[in-house]
Symmetry: C2
Subunit: 173 residues, 2 copies
Amino acid sequence: MAGEPADGARDNRRSGLPEVIGTGFLLSALGAHSAMNFGRRLAALDLTPPHVGLLRAIGLTPGRSQQAIADQFGMPPSRMVALIDDLEHAGMVERRRDPRDRRAHSLFLTDKGAKAMTKIADIGREWEEELVGSLTSDERGQLRELLERLVADQGITPGVHPGYRAMKPDADS
Amino acid sequence: MAGEPADGARDNRRSGLPEVIGTGFLLSALGAHSAMNFGRRLAALDLTPPHVGLLRAIGLTPGRSQQAIADQFGMPPSRMVALIDDLEHAGMVERRRDPRDRRAHSLFLTDKGAKAMTKIADIGREWEEELVGSLTSDERGQLRELLERLVADQGITPGVHPGYRAMKPDADS
DNA sequence: GAGAATGTTTCAGAGTCAGAATGATTCTTC
DNA sequence: GAAGAATCATTCTGACTCTGAAACATTCTC
């Protein structure tokens, strides 16, 4: 059903043990690798991947409340406070009292936040190039399409990272 | 160079902001999703993904020292102690004083550890089926091959997860 | 045989996160 | 229109985990 066994499978067969390395493991390993490397480059802007997700969400739909975004991200509101604090102190995000509901804070990107997004996009493209640079253009397209289908089929909200609950740059360099 | 823009890109273009969601992000999101789901199923055995990586490494090359494996995993020795403690208490791994060097502990899988590996393999196949079940057999092969090439090209040691430094089941259910 | 180096373990410090409690505002109900 | 329940944001505490340094036993080097 799964075609050829992978290298690991052959190795392990020698040991008489069952193989546990499948596509899920490869995805997880590459995903961690990708997140770590992107996060490391991001550290130059004093940001972490969750910050980026947040900036993106705010830029895409300005004016929403913290809780609305916290819900979307599956993140406790108390964590959202700290992330927004960071971005506000960095001058990238602005909290405005919602005149309709003065309990809530509406979130907006500042000019500096918008400019940060273009830098982030540059960093992302740079890393992307290094990550998939060894594939042909066709292969990149194939990979991208397969991954997008899996994201959809797995019910992952597009653009919302399931691991935002706890992601650090994991400095190593 | 990168063919068609993805859905996210179109969304974002409307907002006038640059897009930051590339293949790297998709990999990271799917990888976290995969790790979480596998980890959740693994919790039934009171194990975490790093435990599994360790069991596998020991089964594949029995008799090595803790430090040898810690080096391979890029993990501090003090962390290795705790993981081995868990597995030893669970009766899946045995520490034997190395007669050649009585400072070192040689690590071996017990029968219980070997049996755990077959259960783990079952869990892994189950999850794999759910993860890529929506792809055709050909597509699974394509995906697997592309991922394996990226792993190799990125210099990731096969079977060694770059994120083993800190992985929890991240209970949620 | 003395001192440096190595494998393992323990321990203390730092960091982070989730969830409960607090305060302000709005909604519901009478 | 007033009292109590619900909601948004924030603060704070407890729990957890990881890292790096110190400690201990053993081996290597000279």
